[in-house]
């Protein structure tokens, strides 16, 4: 949803990084289920995906290469894939830094991180450049790269490239991932041999490992710059790029994995309906991000396939726990009881999403599936409000106009609030104003997030020094921060999960987020385009077919 906006905030490790998984020192071998046959169906309805991450049972910090099957044998070789995506003249191309969805599509064709997530959101290496990552301690990791991997310019991947890449990520001049710099600096890296690097963190952090699997934490060759030659290790190398127009990517002949297509063209569209029209009329083979309203148009067309994947993106109504009237926990609880979450999924997402439970990190293994699903309970809400002396409450609720869904969300909420006898005045502000100086200062507002593991999300918005203290959680005197510090240093998954559950419990009972739903990713493609699978995912079109290496044309 968020990328629907023309204006997309820069991707940073802080704000927009999408990191998922069990994220312990332990990185599990993933059970590959990448084959089309094993994939979930590509039906039109919302995939019946269970919210929650994969199981993580291995406690020992051992690292195993992922066992991977890529695409089932029989994929046809050759052809050009035309991918349509909403993009603009502001588009950029970079191995690590991107802004918009079109940039995402381009980045994954040419660059790869050292690790990735498997279908259960555990760390894996089937699409990563590392052979293994060994966690020696919560603040000490050894990365061993696969040997014989070549960049597009035939240079061999080595330890220096990894060090250069991570230094570039934390370089404030690049402005890419300033948040990462609290864990590493230029002295954190030690080259053990040509393929091995030891990373010493500035402070212990188990979630750091998740950072390595982020789709933006890519490896670029030593000396890489935005303005220089666009060189990576990914399945396709950039041939040409015109912002707002198109990019052409040709097969990386010495790619370490398997590829089918000769060429991928990523074509910019200024308008989502033009994008869908282009797909229907056969001008493109794949349409990235189909608007809800047009999902049926695609699914009802026998020549096309609608690819809908569960994702963890969430939108929230934020209540400041430190300000009246929400400094009274009963008022916060009442608000959470007012929401009819099923209605929200229908109204805001046209059914293309799953009901939320005021908790985030839905794809993470630590997601609290055992917490009872909160339902609308107007009577209980009224009682709480009465107790708090807030029956007849009147309050203004803000949303920006640049994020699809939020305006509908607050409008629907205002209507539901009426049933509880309180008056919520929905106010939509222009995006510039909304995200300006007043952002995080408003008592009652909205926000949106892509998904990341619980412990990676907490410092974003739920600590006293959080980057975006939208709810100003935790309340004064809470043990929440102490629990967090314990958790990030705890390498034992079970123990860590136990601490996390305690934190989640506090947020579930007293927190300031009203999370009604998680959004699905919807793409469309021609029936002859094969290899994209519907499964819980971070990026559109099955993670862009992992840089389109999984995609082939059945023509």
């Amino acid at each position: 949803m968020s990328e629907d906006r023309k204006l997309i905030l820069p991707r940073q490790f802080g704000r927009r990084q999408v990191i998922l998984g069990a994220g312990a020192a332990t990185v599990l071998a993933a059970c590959g289920s990448d084959s089309p046959s094993g994939a979930a169906s590509t039906t039109t309805g919302a995939p019946n995906t269970t919210a929650g991450g994969g199981a993580d049972t291995t406690a020992a910090p051992s690292v195993t290469d992922a066992v991977t099957t890529t695409v089932a044998a029989g994929g046809k070789q050759g052809g050009t894939l035309r991918v349509g995506v909403v993009g603009s003249t502001n588009d950029i191309i970079d191995g690590q830094y991107i802004v918009a969805r079109a940039d995402q599509a381009r980045m994954v064709t040419g660059w790869e991180p050292i690790a990735n997530y498997d279908d259960d959101f555990n760390i894996a290496y089937n699409h990563g450049l590392a052979e293994s990552i060994e966690a020696k301690a919560p603040d000490n990791y050894v990365v061993r790269l696969k040997s014989g991997i070549e960049f597009h310019n035939a240079k061999t991947l080595g330890a220096d490239d990894l060090i250069y890449s991570f230094n570039r990520l934390i370089d404030p001049a690049q402005g890419i991932a300033p948040a990462l710099s609290q864990f590493i600096d230029a002295n954190s890296f030690k080259k053990l041999d040509d393929l091995t690097v030891e990373i010493k963190l500035l402070k212990p952090s188990v979630p750091f490992l998740n950072g390595l699997a982020d789709y933006g934490a890519n490896i670029v060759p030593v000396g890489y710059t935005r303005d220089g030659e666009q060189i990576g290790t990914g399945p396709y190398k950039l041939k040409s790029f015109t912002p707002g127009s198109e990019s052409v990517h040709v097969r990386h002949e010495n790619y370490w994995g398997k590829t089918y297509l000769d060429e991928v063209q990523i074509i910019d569209f200024s308008d989502q309906s033009a994008l869908v029209n282009a797909l229907i009329s056969g001008d493109i083979d794949v349409a990235i991000d189909v608007p809800y309203a047009q999902a049926t148009t695609v699914s009802s067309n026998s020549d096309l396939v609608l690819l809908e994947s569960a994702a963890g993106n969430w939108q929230t109504i934020t209540m400041r726990v430190d300000m009246a009237p929400f400094d009274d926990v009963r008022v916060r609880q009442a608000m959470r009881l007012i929401v009819n979450r099923d209605e929200m999924v229908q109204r805001v997402l046209s059914g293309h999403g799953r009901v939320g439970n005021d908790m985030y990190g839905v794809l993470d293994g630590s997601y609290p599936k055992s917490f009872p699903q909160r339902e609308q309970d107007i009577e209980a809400a009224k009682a709480l409000l009465k107790e708090a002396g807030q029956e007849g409450l009147e309050i203004e609720l803000f949303a920006p106009d640049d994020t699809a869904g939020l305006a509908e969300y607050i409008t629907a909420f205002a209507e539901q609030a009426k049933e509880a006898g309180i008056t919520v005045k929905p106010t939509v502000l222009d995006g510039g104003t909304y995200w300006g100086a007043e952002y995080t200062k408003r008592v009652f507002a909205t926000s949106y997030w892509s998904t990341r593991p619980y412990l990676n999300q907490v410092p974003q918005g739920a600590l006293p020094d959080a980057t975006y203290p939208e709810t100003h959680w935790p309340p004064a005197g809470s043990d929440f921060e102490a629990l967090y510090n314990q958790a990030i240093a705890e390498v034992d998954t079970d123990k860590r999960y136990a601490i996390i559950e305690q934190m989640q419990k506090e947020e579930y009972e007293e927190g300031g987020n009203i999370i009604s739903y998680f959004q699905n990713l919807i793409d469309g493609h021609a029936a002859y385009v094969k290899g994209a699978v519907s499964r819980p995912n971070l990026l559109n079109f099955d993670h862009f077919g992992r840089g389109f290496q999984n995609i082939w044309l059945d023509q």
Binding site: R15, T89, N90, G175, P243, F269, N277, G432
Partner: protein, 336 residues
């Protein structure tokens, strides 16, 4: 007498007319430049109200130092008038600056797009102007008959429908649902001329044509009706001239003059109309570039395109005035 086409213009009259027109052009061009200067200030001031491009680019997590450095890099830390005059100087010397979002020179981004948009406008004009003159003239001739009634109703309908409705309808009809005759979207490859994807220009051109044809044809119809009822057209018939000569020699030229102004306004309107139509068909012109640039407050691009559209307006009006003078002897001879 023989051999001397004495009803043609003489050399001396022609040259004095030419001098008159030349003087007129110089005067009008100067006026146009003054207009554009005023517009430039308005454009620059208004684009400054689009918002803070740095904030929009770096987002909510940007470090203050980075913001400051970026502002300095884009030159936004300097006073308004300094920036205005530098921008103006750049415009006049052919350097409209660099895009805020990716630092590329504005011309690199919009250069091809201007060509594409001009081509689209050209195609739409080349179709709509003759078409609407023909429809208007024929409707006037067949006043209150079937052709007139049908076209008048149709034109009214098209005039009432916004471009995006017409465009969406055409897409469904000719590209996606009913017939697959034309591509739903255009795709001009970078560096290629706009006609390289000639199929892709058809639907946007038809949409624009339908947007302007009603106005021009209605004006033409009215002008033609007036002319057809004029004494000199009756006189031409009473002289026994064949109907073709009556229409094309006597009526048509006199009806085109008053219609020229409307044609010019409509061509200028096309420059604005492309903004909607281009998005609809993903036609890579200035319209899409403008749509891309405004939300991120990419002022150099917005400014350049706004100035381009303003220039089109000025040039179209200039050409219309000149055209009206050239086809109207009463105005033309006044210049001698």
């Amino acid at each position: 007498m023989a051999g001397a086409p004495y009803w043609g213009a003489s050399a001396t009259a022609a040259s004095s007319t030419f001098m008159g027109i030349f003087k007129l052009i110089v005067r009008r061009v100067l006026l146009g430049v003054v207009t554009l200067l005023v517009v430039s200030f308005a454009v620059f001031a208004l684009t400054n109200l689009l918002g803070d491009p740095v904030h929009r680019m770096l987002g909510r997590g940007a470090l203050p130092e980075v913001v400051k450095a970026k502002r300095a890099e884009l030159g936004l830390d300097r006073p308004f008038f300094t920036r205005y005059f530098e921008w103006l100087k750049g415009l006049m010397t052919g350097d409209p600056g660099n895009s805020f979002s990716n630092g590329s020179p504005v011309m690199d981004i919009v250069g091809d797009r201007i060509k594409n948009s001009l081509f689209l406008m050209f195609v739409a004009s080349m179709v709509s102007i003759p078409l609407s003159l023909f429809i208007g003239a024929r409707a006037a001739l067949r006043r209150d008959k079937t052709f007139d009634r049908v076209t008048s109703n149709q034109m009214l309908i098209f005039a009432a429908m916004p471009e995006f409705v017409v465009g969406a309808f055409l897409t469904v009809l000719l590209a996606t649902n009913v017939w697959h005759v034309f591509p739903a979207t255009s795709r001009i490859r970078p560096g290629q001329p706009p006609w390289s994807d000639w199929k892709g220009v058809i639907l946007p051109a038809i949409t624009l044509t339908l947007a302007v044809t009603p106005h021009v044809s209605r004006t033409m119809r009215a002008a033609m009706i007036e002319v057809l009822e004029s004494d000199y057209v009756e006189m031409a018939r009473l002289k026994g001239l064949p109907e073709r000569a009556v229409l094309w020699r006597h009526a048509f030229p006199n009806a085109v003059g008053p219609t020229l102004q409307v044609i010019a306004l409509n061509i200028a309107y096309l420059a604005g109309g492309v903004v909607v139509v281009e998005s609809l068909f993903n036609y890579r012109g200035i319209g899409i570039a403008l749509r891309d640039a405004i939300p991120v407050a990419n002022a150099p691009i917005v400014q350049f395109i706004a100035m381009f559209i303003a220039t089109i307006y000025v040039v179209c009006n200039l050409l219309a005035d000149l055209g009206a003078i050239l086809v109207t002897p009463r105005l033309r001879t006044r210049l001698q």
